[in-house]
Symmetry: C4
Subunit: 272 residues, 4 copies
């Protein structure tokens, strides 16, 4: 095993002690640098520690730049890594500091570093966690058509109610334009309700009430979609697709060895 394979193992894998240590150190560095960026944005803290922040920021940037270069060296398919989601995030995580030399204020975009925390899933290697993530993703993918229809309907409802309220309430009550009224409709339908814009005429309040109760019912749709998909995925895991070779009936549990109806031995199922 040459040094490049060794490097690959340390940087891209998390099975060996060295790889695991590297990944945990990296995670800690990411968390720390994210906290630093957040603190730097607080005026009172930033004013007192301007120099410290500049130093710390450069330390992290040089650290992450070295790591990025090492990743490119170690990667077997360099182009694939460079264009992968995590590869692009790795680049975007160091770029802002360099940009800030020419363009003051660009370092705010360093916050994208937080996306690198997604690596945590690979490090923890928790089969359960990954399984849970997959179930969530599968439920979302399985219901993508229903979610599209739902989102499309929400957009239509929001534009129509926004325009209606713009006509009813008018500029003097904060509904200064249709886009702003549509924003109000989104704030209301999602039950966020800031209160920065609120209907003040009787008719406006009546229609707003109808939109709210409607929004109540609409809220049930995505929940129903995701719930039914998750229940569906759960029940699929438990029932084997195999058929009894003797009585030809299915619905056996995946751990069944004999047919529960006629006691005939079920076929081995190598692929579960």
């Amino acid at each position: 095993m040459n040094w490049k394979d060794k490097l690959y193992e340390v940087i891209f894998e998390a099975d060996t002690p060295a790889g695991r240590t590297f990944d945990i150190m990296l995670l800690i560095a990411i968390v720390l640098s994210t906290i630093i960026i957040m603190l730097e944005s607080v005026p009172s803290i930033a004013a007192a520690n301007r120099d410290t922040f500049v130093v710390v920021e450069w330390v992290f940037t040089i650290l992450f730049t070295s790591e990025y270069v090492l990743r490119i060296i170690a990667a077997r398919r360099k182009a694939k890594y460079l264009l992968s989601f995590l590869g692009i995030i790795d680049l975007l995580s160091i770029l802002p500091t360099y940009l800030a030399i020419f363009l003051s204020g660009a370092q705010i975009f360093l916050v994208i570093r937080v996306v690198r925390l997604f690596r945590v899933f690979r490090i923890l290697k928790l089969a359960h966690l990954l399984g849970a993530g997959n179930t969530l993703r599968a439920a979302l993918i399985a219901s993508r058509h229903k979610i599209s229809v739902f989102l499309f309907s929400v957009v239509l409802i929001v534009i129509l109610s926004g325009a209606l309220m713009y006509v009813i309430e008018g500029s003097e009550h904060g509904f200064t334009s249709i886009p702003r009224s549509v924003y109000w409709a989104v704030v209301t339908l999602t039950t966020v309700g800031y209160g920065d814009i609120a209907p003040q005429t009787f008719l406006g309040q009546f229609i707003a009430s109808v939109i709210m109760i409607l929004g109540y019912g609409i809220l049930a749709v995505p929940t129903g979609i995701v719930s039914s998909e998750m229940i569906n995925l759960k029940s699929k895991e438990k029932i084997s697709s195999q058929v009894c070779p003797h009585c030809m009936r299915d619905g056996h549990d995946s751990d069944a060895v004999f047919c529960k109806y006629c006691s005939f031995k079920l076929n081995d199922h190598t692929v579960s």
Copy 2:
């Protein structure tokens, strides 16, 4: 095929290249005209481009009017089209511009054009999308009685809590009338919570807290309704589509061997 059939195909169908192109052009026109109407309502944008907006509006109106006339000519059952939901929307989408000649400000109602976007479902011809829409609609229809009972209860709760808070808080804390207090109750029960009206006495805050936690539980009802209906619809798919060869009735479970109504043996179903 005469010109009228050809016209029908282009305007009302989306299977042929010509029909598809027509529909996509139409969709783009609808989206553009909706954006124009929304921008026109923004004072700063409208002030600078008053003339442009008037021209663009008339261009779209003439375009949609021609399309409306062509639809009437091409339609086989003219009365049916004129009185259909989409036919009325088509008319309402052009009327406001003409009305605005006599009645300034009427063009705001052009926003109803956004409803025409519903045609997108027909154009995309995505079986999955349509299926998803049907599932959502079926779930809503199947639970319409439960939703009625739910809405009726919400109306009662909202009127009673509104009246109660009107008595407790009174005009000096913003609860100036029962209708306004009912509006507050809707805003609270749906968890929108603008904060434009909020209880200020101890008793008022206590009762508001009870209403909120109650609203929390009530929120669960429509979600439960839709979820259970969607799961129900999903499980219906598990029912075999085969028909008994003897009594011709369907609705057999996929694991049934004999007809549950007449005991006739069902056909083997190799593909489940």
Copy 3:
């Protein structure tokens, strides 16, 4: 059939044309009188029509009083009617007007008349509506223990977070006492969020964020409870409890005549 039986039929039943007409007239009167009470509370409307409102109110009160007297006369078990839920509501619906002679302002309580609308269920006689109501009630009753545990936990969480925020934020940021902070915790946990009280220190905002995300998860519990109960009730309706007399297996649909596994005739089920 004597006049008392006739009266009973008209007032208490809704099967005969006379009974149905009576009930519909009554419903309209209740809706009208509720609207009148709500309008009367609007200062601008009340000021202009003080006399009209007094007259209308007395008309409705005399009408409902006559109806109440007739109900007592017609009722077969007078005590049972007087003490029934609807009987007490009937009394409370007329009392405030009489009380208002001695005690100005008491007529506001006339709004309790809206509860009488519950009679609508009896009038409509929609089996589906009643069934839907029963399903909802059954789902709530079946999950009353889980709901108790849930409510008890919510009360504990709300008191503890209220006290915590009172200590952290203090009087100067609106958290003037523990009861008021508990009210804030309810407003936050239920995602109502008026904004009349909001954390302003860094620590307060951090803990509020944790409470909100916690509330997010807690919101899932009552929904999960109601959903699972409703799905449970739904699936119970479809599966018959009968067992095949020949192969002793159950799980037959309630409309099955023959066993779906062995074709043996199932027993008649007089009680479904």
Copy 4:
């Protein structure tokens, strides 16, 4: 039975009349002392009754201290009780009053006494209530991995949208720092929506709208998780409790005739 056993029975058990009476008295004392602490924090009430509160507080503290000492004496495994959750809460419930002698204001922490109310479950001895609590806990435990993935994603989304809005809106619109913007993102995503910070630029309102609708969909995830787990737990009840007489394994469906592991015939179950 010596006095120590007797004491154990009264204090730690709730089956005997004496134990039950003790526990109910204790619960009442806890509820009363919690109410007193809450009232004491209300400035207007506290000012008028300062002395009364000091006396009442000491009475409850001496009462609870005696109880704590008695519990230590009666406990069979003293270390285990002292370090148990309820044991620590018992200590924390009396400590603040003593601390307040040296450290004014410490008595606010007496509110932790409310946690002692958890004993209510032991007292009521309601099998159903406990069962319901267990179901809730089991549902939460079963879905802890999914909930972790969900919470992790929420934290990432909230930090990224907070940073984005900080860049777009800036200090002049209330987004004074990234931590404060993240707080805004939590308030928005959970649909609490105080309105103390709200976007004011067009772009900010547009992105906020997207975050809200996104939050809408995200709200569905924990609900779907808990719902599916609760339905899963419910369906587990449908699995027969019988054990195969041959291989001694359980988990057979209630309609199974033969053991699915070893094909041995299962016993008849007359009571399903």
